[in-house]
């Protein structure tokens, strides 16, 4: 039976069919759906781990225990997990251990662009790269087999285009696997990486890479497609699709295993073609391996190093290099377009972070940000964030600036999930080394950016089981932070009061700004849109300056100032009342005020708010 599956759904399906026992991940685009999907299958333990390093250790533990295990993450997650990835390469395991690295060329949802095939090569870990959804499933199964055959972790490297593209996939059944061990191994020479043991492991790891390369000569994961011999293209992953589309006549060596590459197969292909091209996205990982064999080839001299490939990019570059293409590059006509307003992602209407950023913007303090929806606090008109590097970086950066003597009071903002991920050790450092940093934990009770995943603060697991909530305030106090306050994120005055109090001490402080994400399904049901009272609005524009997408400029102008009045879009407004509190003319009644007004004047109650427009 064939079903249309995304690459991520196909990886989950493949892992399940391969008899995986455990899977762990931290959410991150474009990898998140792998665990969400896998957690719906029976007989697999799945969890959101607190971060990617923990997820890899959890998977390693399961594989040491003789159970097939998978860890999934976005490319930058492997930066966090790199330490574990390297020791796992040295130790190997007792059962299949697969690490999915979902890279994000073009940085659709990431802070940097990196090619994690480099990590596979770096750690001498075999690396498979699927080209479509069917291969996502097939290669996941192959990765488990390969891992057990060579006692190595195996990387399944995908890119956004394979994770988030869908295509038909032939479904199979689960191969139920008995655990390969009854007891945890006590093989200390293999699993205790003290220098004396690790020194003995390193030559084995190098030999393993050579063995995998030799095995790859005959593996069906790699294949030559002979067509016209004038041009031969070595390619892998989604780039294979572009090669076939744009250069349909060319012979192709399609590598499923991109590290290590099979020398004899490459030589046989090279001998059969006149001009050798390597087509791959991001780094010249295959190209360099081919060159290391002493074979001349063209690759990054033709195709771009940065960004994502697509048929247009490949066709343009190939045609410019004199390669035969399916048709001439399409001349994109200069269309008579006006300058189009940008549609940047914005903090949603009702976003609980808005009140905090409104305050920080007003205070003009330097703010170190972090990774999550709240990074959007950098955008005008709030313009309240001044740095954002990676998960958990903001607190350390604020501490460093403070300790170096910048003289300004530093504020770090971090989301709840990111705080549990890597904010915690950074805050321990602030407490230990006593910088006068104010850390604002933006606690919206979910991992919002990646689509509302549970985290240690939510009291629920990936498997929808109730669990204990790791409360932020006692945790922060236990670290030794004395000045801790909690405020409802929608309480504009309360935030300012707490801010002033916490900043009055020349010591570490934590403000927990708490309110559920307005997009959580149960919160959506409580939305009550507010309305502007036109007679009171003067068009002063204060409410426009909080960047709420529900507050529009009316076509009505104020008689005195000639400025447009405010207008609230009832389809977007959640009724958070941040604008009500900021309006100096009381022109946006709160829910309570609306209710009171209606009770007093039942005859002239406001028009019912419809869902239409």
């Amino acid at each position: 039976m064939k079903r249309v599956l995304s690459g991520n759904e196909a990886i989950a399906r493949g892992a399940w069919e391969a008899g995986v026992h455990l899977a762990a991940a931290y959410p991150g685009t474009p990898s998140t759906e792998i665990l969400e999907e896998l957690s719906r299958f029976p007989h697999v333990y799945c969890e959101w781990s607190t971060n990617e390093k923990v997820a890899v250790d959890v998977a390693v533990g399961a594989a040491y225990a003789g159970r097939r295990a998978l860890a999934a993450m976005k490319h930058v997650g492997l930066n966090v997990a790199a330490d574990s990835f390297f020791y796992a390469s040295f130790t190997g395991a007792e059962a299949g251990l697969v690490l999915v690295s979902a890279d994000d060329p073009a940085m659709h949802s990431s802070q940097n662009e990196q090619d994690n095939r480099r990590f596979a090569q770096f750690a001498r870990v075999p690396c498979l790269e699927p080209a479509d959804s069917q291969e996502c499933k097939d290669f996941t199964i192959a990765a488990f087999d390969l891992s057990e055959r060579f006692d190595a972790p195996v990387m399944l490297r995908t890119t956004t285009r394979t994770n988030h593209s869908s295509g038909p996939v032939e479904l199979g059944e689960r191969a139920d696997r008995a655990p390969r061990r009854d007891k945890f191994p006590r093989d200390t020479a293999k699993y205790v990486m003290i220098p004396a043991n690790a020194r003995k492991r390193h030559p084995l790891v190098e030999q393993r890479a050579r063995d995998v390369a030799a095995w790859a000569e005959k593996s069906p994961l790699n294949r030559i497609e002979w067509r016209d011999r004038a041009v031969g293209v070595i390619t892998a992953g989604v780039a294979y699709q572009y090669a076939r589309e744009v250069m349909p006549a060319a012979s192709v060596l399609k590598l499923g295993l991109v590290y290590p590459i099979p020398e004899q197969l490459v030589r046989a292909f090279v001998a059969g073609v006149s001009r050798l091209i390597v087509l791959e996205e991001l780094d010249p990982v295959i190209e360099e391996q081919v060159r290391m064999l002493g074979i001349a080839c063209e690759g990054k001299s033709i195709f771009p190093l940065c960004g994502e490939l697509d048929p247009s990019v490949v066709r343009q570059a190939a045609a410019a290099a004199g390669l035969a293409v399916d048709h001439a590059p399409v001349e994109v006509a200069a269309l008579p377009k006006p300058e189009l307003p940008a549609r940047p992602p914005v903090l949603c209407a009702g976003c609980p972070h808005r009140g905090v950023f409104q305050l920080l913007s007003k205070k003009k303090v330097p703010v170190t940000g972090d990774i999550g929806c709240y990074t959007l606090g950098l955008l005008p008109p709030l313009s309240a964030i001044h740095t954002c590097g990676c998960m958990g970086a903001g607190i350390g950066v604020a501490h460093g600036a403070a300790r170096a003597g910048i003289g300004e009071r530093m504020v770090a903002v971090i989301g709840d999930s990111t705080f549990y991920h890597t904010g915690l050790p950074a805050l321990a450092n602030v407490a230990y080394n006593q910088a006068n940093v104010l850390v604002v934990i933006l606690d919206n009770r979910t991992t919002a950016m990646t689509g509302h995943q549970a985290n240690p603060g939510t009291g629920i697991t990936l498997g929808h089981q109730d669990t204990r909530v790791i409360e932020l305030e006692p945790l922060v106090r236990a670290l030794g932070i004395e000045h801790v306050a909690t405020v409802d994120s929608y309480d504009v005055d309360g935030l300012e009061k707490a801010y002033k109090e916490l900043m009055s001490h020349d010591q570490p402080a934590v403000l927990v700004a708490r309110r559920e994400c307005a997009l959580l399904p149960e919160i959506r049901k409580q939305w009550v849109p507010l309305e502007v009272v036109e007679e009171k609005c003067t068009g002063c524009g204060i409410c426009f300056r909080i960047g709420c997408p529900a507050i529009l400029k009316s076509e009505e102008l104020d008689a005195k100032s000639g400025k447009p009045l405010a207008l609230i879009d009832p389809d977007q407004c959640t009724g958070c009342e941040v604008c009500s509190q900021l309006c100096p003319h009381d022109a946006i009644p709160t829910r309570d005020q609306m209710r009171l007004a209606e009770e007093r004047q039942p005859a002239s109650c406001s028009t019912p708010v419809s869902g239409g427009n």
Partner: protein, 206 residues
């Protein structure tokens, strides 16, 4: 339509408009009709009110690239007027653009720092592409069917009229994707979208 053997679609809109559900259904319809299919989209920031772009390709033999090259889409289906302008370059000269008659005003416009383009630009841009421009009042027809949120189904109805597949194939795929209690509503929405578009000669079911 250039070739009845292969179709490339580009679907654009704004996060929250149901663009992704529509592309899922379009891919499934292609598979049910016997095509090889691929669909590609980008998640992540899309939920936060940004532009959404998704690609669907059908081929009687085999689809390679999951994304449509610039100037290679047979059909551009836009859920929002300005997004149709933004992504117009994807459309093949002589292709068809189905555009929902709906403006979702971005914050750059509501804050007064930019101006939302007028409808005359749509006509001018698609004329320059020698493309057919079909405007569909998606929200109005969906509202008439019973719920404004069914605008994406209205648009699927509209696009179905331009493709040579039996209506039943569309309805089978659609009915599996929408909640049972909304089946009748969606049936009306789909039919009204279909009725809003004149069929092209190529779209007569074989």
């Amino acid at each position: 339509m250039a070739s009845p053997k292969a179709y490339s679609f580009v679907l654009v809109g704004v996060g929250g408009q149901g663009t992704l559900l529509a592309s899922n259904i379009l891919a499934e319809v292609g598979l049910a009709a016997g095509f090889d299919v691929k669909k590609s989209e980008v998640h992540g920031m899309a939920q936060r009110g940004g532009s959404v772009l998704s690609h669907v390709r059908w081929d009687a033999e085999r689809v390679y690239s999951p994304i449509v090259g610039m100037g290679e889409a047979d059909l551009l289906l836009s859920f929002e007027k300005m997004e149709a302008l933004r992504f117009a370059e994807f459309l093949k000269p002589g292709g068809t653009a189905i555009v929902n008659d709906m403006a979702v005003v971005p914050i750059t416009v509501s804050s007064g720092s930019a101006v939302y383009p007028g409808d005359e630009h749509l006509r001018r841009v698609f004329e320059a592409l020698r493309a057919e421009l079909v405007m569909v009042p998606g929200e109005r027809l969906a509202q008439e069917a019973g719920n404004v949120k069914a605008a994406n189904v209205v648009l699927l109805g509209a696009i179905s009229r331009l493709l040579p597949l039996p209506e039943a194939t569309w309805w089978e795929c659609l009915s599996q994707r929408v909640p049972k209690k909304y089946l009748d509503l969606n049936r009306v929405a789909f039919a009204s979208g279909r009725a809003a578009v004149a069929p092209t000669p190529a779209a007569t079911p074989a």
